[in-house]
């Protein structure tokens, strides 16, 4: 009576849409992240120019410096694309090179952020000093945390490839790391514009 199959034959379905489960969940995760950064950026915008005491953004920012580190981060998206292209052609050595390059560029960006934070704190801007410090450090800090996670993922992939675990067949793993990495870059474009470039 309770025949499990309604049809005549059994056909195992990999996925309904043809898209790998992991790729779909990564897109869903990035959608969720949009709301996360959206809320943080909204908080920054609501409190923009609302600090009662200094230091104020115009006293603090070194826009040419941050532009250079932003450029470094954007270039890391290029090397990420090259890493994925390499492994999709089966070129493991090329992928390793570009993975390390991406991780290093990300690390340079992080180093730049650490230096920037240190300088700002030396100028008297801290988390608790005023609304600008509160919103600036928390927004850019959470972005920095995301870049850090990305760098850890990139170097983990590199180490895994040294054990021979990353091949053309599972290049999807590299693609997923790339999706995350590009997202973190795109978010930085928005943050850089909103925080640094809009005139105060």
């Amino acid at each position: 009576m309770a025949e499990a199959s309604l049809g005549g034959h059994a056909a195992a379905v990999e996925t309904t849409t043809g898209l790998d489960h992991r790729k779909m969940v990564m897109w869903a995760f990035l959608g969720s992240e949009c709301l996360f950064f959206g809320s943080l950026i909204s908080t920054y915008l609501v409190y923009r120019n609302r600090s009662l005491t200094g230091p104020f953004p115009q006293d603090t920012f070194d826009i040419p410096y941050t532009s250079v580190s932003s450029f470094v981060l954007l270039m890391s998206s290029l090397t990420m694309v090259l890493a994925l292209a390499a492994i999709q052609r089966g070129n493991v050595r090329g992928m390793r090179t570009w993975l390390v390059a991406t991780g290093l560029l990300g690390s340079v960006f992080l180093g730049g952020q650490v230096y920037e934070f240190t300088t700002f704190i030396a100028h008297g801007l801290s988390l608790s000093r005023n609304l600008f410090g509160t919103t600036f450090f928390v927004l850019t800090g959470f972005h920095g945390a995301h870049v850090t996670v990305g760098v850890v993922i990139l170097f983990s992939l590199f180490l895994n490839s040294l054990r021979g675990k990353l091949t053309r067949e599972n290049s999807l793993v590299v693609e997923l790391a790339g999706l995350y990495w590009h997202f973190v870059d795109v978010v930085w474009v928005v943050i850089f514009t909103v925080v640094y470039l809009l005139p105060y």
């Binding site: 025949e3 056909a11 779909m24 969720s32 908080t43 409190y47 609302r50 988390l127 928390v138």
Partner: protein
């Protein structure tokens, strides 16, 4: 059937097997995880219920002295937080787990280990939140935690708020992990022919709820992070002295909070949309409209949040706009109600307990919806805001609505999970006690609110005209408690001695009734091919409608592999189920310890609340981080048989 079941039993020599309790702790089987979710959620439901009974005992008579005002604040905060985050949402997730893969013809969810992870994170988050009772005091600022009542200058007598902030963040991780899983499972793991417009309504509403969860929880996560930073690192997010506006908390909280209301109600609506057709022996009236109404509600739920803030002074334009959007959202809800009634009309109705609870849902939720439309009008809201009228409204929606829907689901799917029916007579007693109890408790609260009794007051003097209705409400609360005792007895008695259900006790319509009860670990010996809406009904009785019998081809990835598996199936060796894994529970434990460590270090060192955590990072949090990383890396590198993740 028996032969297919027998043939599908697989024997893999390298298979890790665990016995007894370990088979539960390391399981990645969606049905077992669903049972754990359900049992845990019912336990938290009882804890939240005991908190409610203490509240009602305190308010039974004027000048009540059962608890102190401080304890009363803790009780109503924990009652709301527990019921919403630890009882109702996880009970819905229990049904997602148990039912959705069966309804779409899948062998498991898309990410079985992620599924186990979300359960353990939920459990640890719930335990952490309730541990606050043992460590100096529970949270005491209401389930909405308005800043700046939650800021250190106004709330430093205990770590309660810190437990609340971290507990909710941990629970958010669990909810989002679960939602990602069900989103992908429903979109990407359906059986061939199971198109969107053939999906059972419960699966539909699970999909909609998953979208709401992954989009709404980041918003409250940010609000909680900002509050946490204010408390621990002296930032200024909600500090008016630095130029900030605490109303930002209200905006962020309710931007999450209103979708959250629909996260709570949509799964229950899905349950009764499956229960009503089964017990009316008729297809769901207006199936596409019911499905699309759920989608419309989800969209509109993002545009109504400020109706929680009418009395905050946003101005007449904002109030008018949000008043209109709020009244509009009643339209798709009303459409659903009429379609449910249309489903019953002319049906051959079988009055079993699941149907009674579903009918209770329709009636009670309609009352709650109507008082909601009253509250949507700002002038009326100003009168009723922060009175017992709102308490009555929320309980008609969440008790009369969500809880009745969830109990309909418990009675409906219990035989599928256990293989035995819950006792029908006890079930009906349970239903009537719940229905009478909830109306006795909450109906009078409308009057109390109109008479001006504020919410969240620990006691009241005699002679306010509130004595009678408060006394009656307390009687009602204990009537509900008696109903719950009947249910608990019924549960334990029926698990052991209940009537054996067989695969299809209700003459069901959807795929879960086509397989044995309880289902085998692999669910379907052969993946079904779906040719119609209500596929099992059509299989049993033929297709009365037209145009439903068409097979819709679904793209299938990895054709060669499939052919191989199909061949193997015929020899009964094709079903690879994912192995049990201990990494999910390790990662969940690490995550909980890491976040809890932020306060635990201060607590262990005996620092007052609001002290900045010691730097270098709090050592408990650091230990948690190491455990978490071990879990995540082990998880990522663990070889997996059968499934991708």
């Amino acid at each position: 059937m028996a032969t297919a079941e027998h043939a599908a039993t697989t024997h893999q020599p390298d298979r890790r097997r665990y016995e007894g309790i370990w088979s539960w702790i390391f399981t990645v089987d969606h049905k077992k995880i669903g049972v754990m979710y359900g049992v845990t959620a019912v336990c938290f439901f009882l804890i939240g219920g005991i908190e409610a009974l203490l509240i009602r005992s305190q308010l039974m008579f004027p000048n009540g002295k059962v608890v102190s005002p401080d304890q009363f604040n803790e009780l109503f905060t924990m009652h709301g937080t527990t019921m919403i985050f630890l009882a109702l949402m996880p009970l819905s997730v229990a049904f997602f787990n148990i039912v959705v893969p069966l309804q779409i013809g899948a062998r498991d969810v898309a990410f079985p280990r992620l599924n186990a992870f979300s359960y353990w994170v939920y459990l640890f988050g719930g335990l952490l939140l309730n541990a606050s009772y043992l460590f100096g005091g529970a949270p005491n600022a209401g389930w909405f935690g308005y800043a700046n009542l939650t800021e250190v200058p106004y709330n430093h007598s205990s770590y309660g708020i810190d437990f609340w902030i971290l507990g909710l963040q941990i629970l958010g991780v669990s909810s989002m992990a679960g939602a990602f899983n069900f989103l992908v499972t429903i979109i990407n793991a359906r059986a061939p022919g199971m198109t969107f417009m053939r999906m059972p309504l419960f699966t539909w509403m699970t999909l909609v709820t998953s979208f709401l969860l992954i989009l709404a929880f980041p918003v409250i996560t940010v609000a909680l992070v900002e509050l946490m930073f204010d408390r621990l690192f002296a930032t200024n997010f909600f500090n008016p002295a630095a130029g900030a506006e605490p109303i930002l908390w209200q905006h962020l909280f309710w931007l999450f909070g209103h979708p959250e209301v629909y996260i709570l109600i949509l799964p229950a609506m899905g349950i009764i949309s499956d229960v009503l057709p089964t017990f009316a022996r008729k297809p769901l009236f207006g199936y596409p409209v019911v499905a699309y109404s759920g989608v419309a509600i989800a969209f509109m739920s993002w545009g109504v949040w400020a109706h929680h803030m009418f009395s905050a002074g946003l101005g007449p334009v904002a109030n008018a706009v949000f008043s209109v959007t709020t009244m509009l959202i009643a339209v798709p809800t009303g459409i659903k109600i009429f379609n449910w009634i249309g489903t019953l009309w002319g049906g051959s109705i079988n009055f079993k307990t699941p149907l009674l609870f579903a009918l209770g849902f329709i009636a009670m939720f309609t009352i709650g919806g109507l008082s909601g439309v009253m509250l949507a009008s700002p002038p009326a809201d100003w009168l009723e805001n922060d009175t017992y009228f709102v308490v009555a409204h929320i309980h008609y929606v969440l008790f009369g609505g969500t809880i009745f829907g969830l109990f309909a689901g418990i009675y409906y799917w219990f035989p599928k999970v256990t293989g035995r029916l819950l006792d029908e007579r006890l079930g009906q007693i349970h239903f009537w006690l719940m229905l009478i109890g909830m109306n006795v408790t909450f109906a009078g609260m409308h009057v109390l609110g109109m008479e001006g009794m504020p919410r969240r007051i620990a006691t009241y003097p005699p002679g306010m005209g509130w004595d009678t209705w408060n006394f009656i409400a307390t009687i009602g609360a204990f009537t509900i408690a008696v109903g719950m005792l009947v249910f608990i007895y019924n549960f334990f008695a029926s698990v052991r001695h209940g009537q054996v259900a067989g695969p299809d006790p209700w003459d069901g319509r959807t795929l879960e009734w086509s397989i044995p009860s309880p289902p085998p670990p692999y669910n379907f010996a052969r993946i079904p091919i779906v040719r119609a809406r209500d596929p099992f009904w059509v299989q049993k009785y033929g297709d009365a409608g037209h145009g439903h019998g068409r097979v819709v081809p679904m793209p299938v990835a990895g054709g060669a592999h499939d052919a191989e598996e199909a061949r193997a199936d015929e020899h009964g060796e094709g079903i690879h189920m994912p192995d049990p894994s201990y990494y999910p529970i390790v990662a969940a434990l690490g995550l909980a310890v890491m976040l809890a460590g932020v306060i635990l270090t201060n607590l262990i060192l005996g620092n007052p609340p609001g002290t900045q955590p010691a730097w270098p990072p709090s050592w408990v949090a650091f230990v948690g981080l190491l455990v978490f990383l071990y879990g995540i890396y082990g998880w990522a590198l663990e070889p997996v048989s059968g499934h991708s993740s």
